[in-house]
């Protein structure tokens, strides 16, 4: 999952497009939160961090009922 900086939110569509170019298969975009989820080869993750407007990238975790 990718977190976009708040000032970049108006340009979220462009950022999503840049993420695709960097090799990410987009699953969902949560525009109100500025987050994007999807999949990518682990070795391409550094390229996602280089995309302008990206604040952070974290692996998706599995969660369960508690």
């Amino acid at each position: 999952m990718v977190l976009v900086t708040e000032p970049s939110l108006p340009a979220l569509e462009d950022i999503v497009s840049d993420l695709k170019h960097a090799g990410m298969t987009i699953d969902r975009v949560q525009a109100v939160l500025g987050t994007v989820t999807g999949s990518i080869d682990a070795d391409a993750i550094p390229a996602l961090r280089e995309v302008h407007g990206v604040l952070d990238v974290e692996p998706d975790r599995e969660v369960g009922a508690s």
Binding site: M1, L3, E6, D27, R28, Q30, A31, V32, L33, G34, T35, T37, L55, D56, E58, D60, R61, E62, V63, G64, A65, S66
Partner: protein, 393 residues
């Protein structure tokens, strides 16, 4: 604890209506001949000699006067409070002491069995707040859509689990929704819902097998914000190890949610085995500082054996609620079930949050503060229960 004079000092506290300090001082003099020197005047004149002709002091910023009064003067002030005007309330001033020993709060959950022990423990039956008009999102395994106890309720649903509808094929989600938003007077059995007139937003982010992913949770949070939900209840998580950092993304997402007036409340986790001296750290994402983490208590108001604790400086338990042997709604045909977990504690807090939101129009950080401020302190480590047992307004 009390003295022969009941700890009274002979002075009285007079509460004035908001922004009525000057009018209040005039009224006290007119009805009772009591003169109070305002702190505003004192600051201006720099002359404490003013107090010589005065019966006391008016704390301008607080709108409270502390005055010496004879019984007939006090009666006159009390009568004036009943009339429309700037005087609100009169009390005897009390003498206070440094505490010599901590007070012990007796365990008190006994009462009629028309409500679950959890509802009684959070003071829900005595509260007139209902949560009406407040939207509560429960992100879980979905909801049993045609449950008879919810026939007259507004329920919006959405699924963020690929290939599964919002219908609950597990039971956990229906149970959590029951505690947060369910009825007080179901056809049969005890009342089990805290915010019994709130609007229910059931977001399915966990599969019928009870698991999900961060991506689904984020989608559920975004859906809740888009629908103006004041509260998001998440009885879910992933175990962490001591020293694991919290998710920077979920922390930032929680802050953004707060800016959209949405408070996220999450289960601390069930990985402890306190009976074997093991306290596990708070799970993800409840370990994010801006997500309210909920620990579980049993009916004796002891910490539940399984309840995660503040094992890291980073993640801390913020509040506690009933989470052992909790009775609530379940999928059909069972209809009801009694289960345990910090999952069960979390919707008690979410329900109370909805009551507070309705009562005070509080949202986001104000709502967080009111939950903590009104929680009943417990003689237990704050690392286990935060500010204590959540209480309905």
């Amino acid at each position: 604890m009390t003295t022969a004079t009941n700890g009274a000092t002979g002075r009285y506290l007079v509460l004035l209506q908001e922004d009525s300090a000057a009018a209040g001082a005039r009224t006290m003099e007119r009805v009772a001949g009591v003169r109070a020197t305002s702190t505003a005047e004192l600051a201006g004149a720099g002359a404490f000699g003013l107090l010589g002709r005065s019966n006391g002091i008016l704390l301008h910023e607080l709108g409270v006067a502390v005055v010496t009064a004879e019984p007939d003067q006090a009666d006159a002030l009390t009568r004036a409070c009943a009339d429309p005007g700037p005087l609100a309330y009169v009390e005897r001033e009390r003498t206070v002491y440094a505490y010599a020993a901590p007070a012990v709060e007796p365990s008190e959950t006994a009462g009629p069995t028309t409500f679950t022990w959890g509802l009684r423990a959070v003071g829900a039956p005595e509260s007139t707040a209902t949560g009406a008009g407040i939207r509560v999102a429960v992100l879980d395994t979905g909801f049993q859509l045609d449950h008879p106890d919810f026939a007259d309720r507004d329920v919006a649903t959405s699924s963020f689990v690929d290939g599964e509808e919002a219908a609950d094929g597990h039971g956990h989600g229906t149970h959590c929704i029951g505690t947060a938003c369910g009825p007080r007077t179901p056809e049969a059995g005890p009342g089990y819902g805290v915010a019994h007139e709130s609007e229910i937003f059931a977001g399915k982010v966990l599969s019928d097998a009870g698991s999900g992913t961060d991506g689904g949770i984020l989608s559920g949070i975004a859906w809740a914000i888009g629908n103006g939900c004041a509260v998001v209840s998440m009885s879910l998580g992933a175990a962490t190890r001591v020293g694991d950092p919290h998710s920077r993304i979920f922390e930032e997402v929680a802050r953004r949610a707060m800016r959209h007036n949405t408070l996220i409340i999450a289960a601390a986790g069930n990985e402890s085995m306190r009976s074997r001296d093991h306290i596990a750290p708070i799970g993800h994402p409840a370990n994010c500082p801006s997500i309210m983490a909920v620990g579980a208590l049993d009916e004796r108001q002891a910490i539940a054996d399984f309840s995660c604790g503040s094992a890291d400086p980073d993640g801390s338990v913020d509040i506690a609620a009933p989470g052992v042997d909790v009775y609530s709604s379940w999928t059909l045909p069972d209809r009801y079930n009694t289960i345990s977990g910090t999952s069960m504690a979390t919707p008690h807090v979410a329900g109370v949050a909805a009551l507070l939101a309705g009562r005070h129009q509080a949202r986001a950080w104000e709502l967080w503060a009111r939950l903590g401020q009104s929680a009943r302190r417990l003689p237990l480590p704050s690392t286990d229960v935060g500010t204590g047992l959540v209480q309905a307004p």
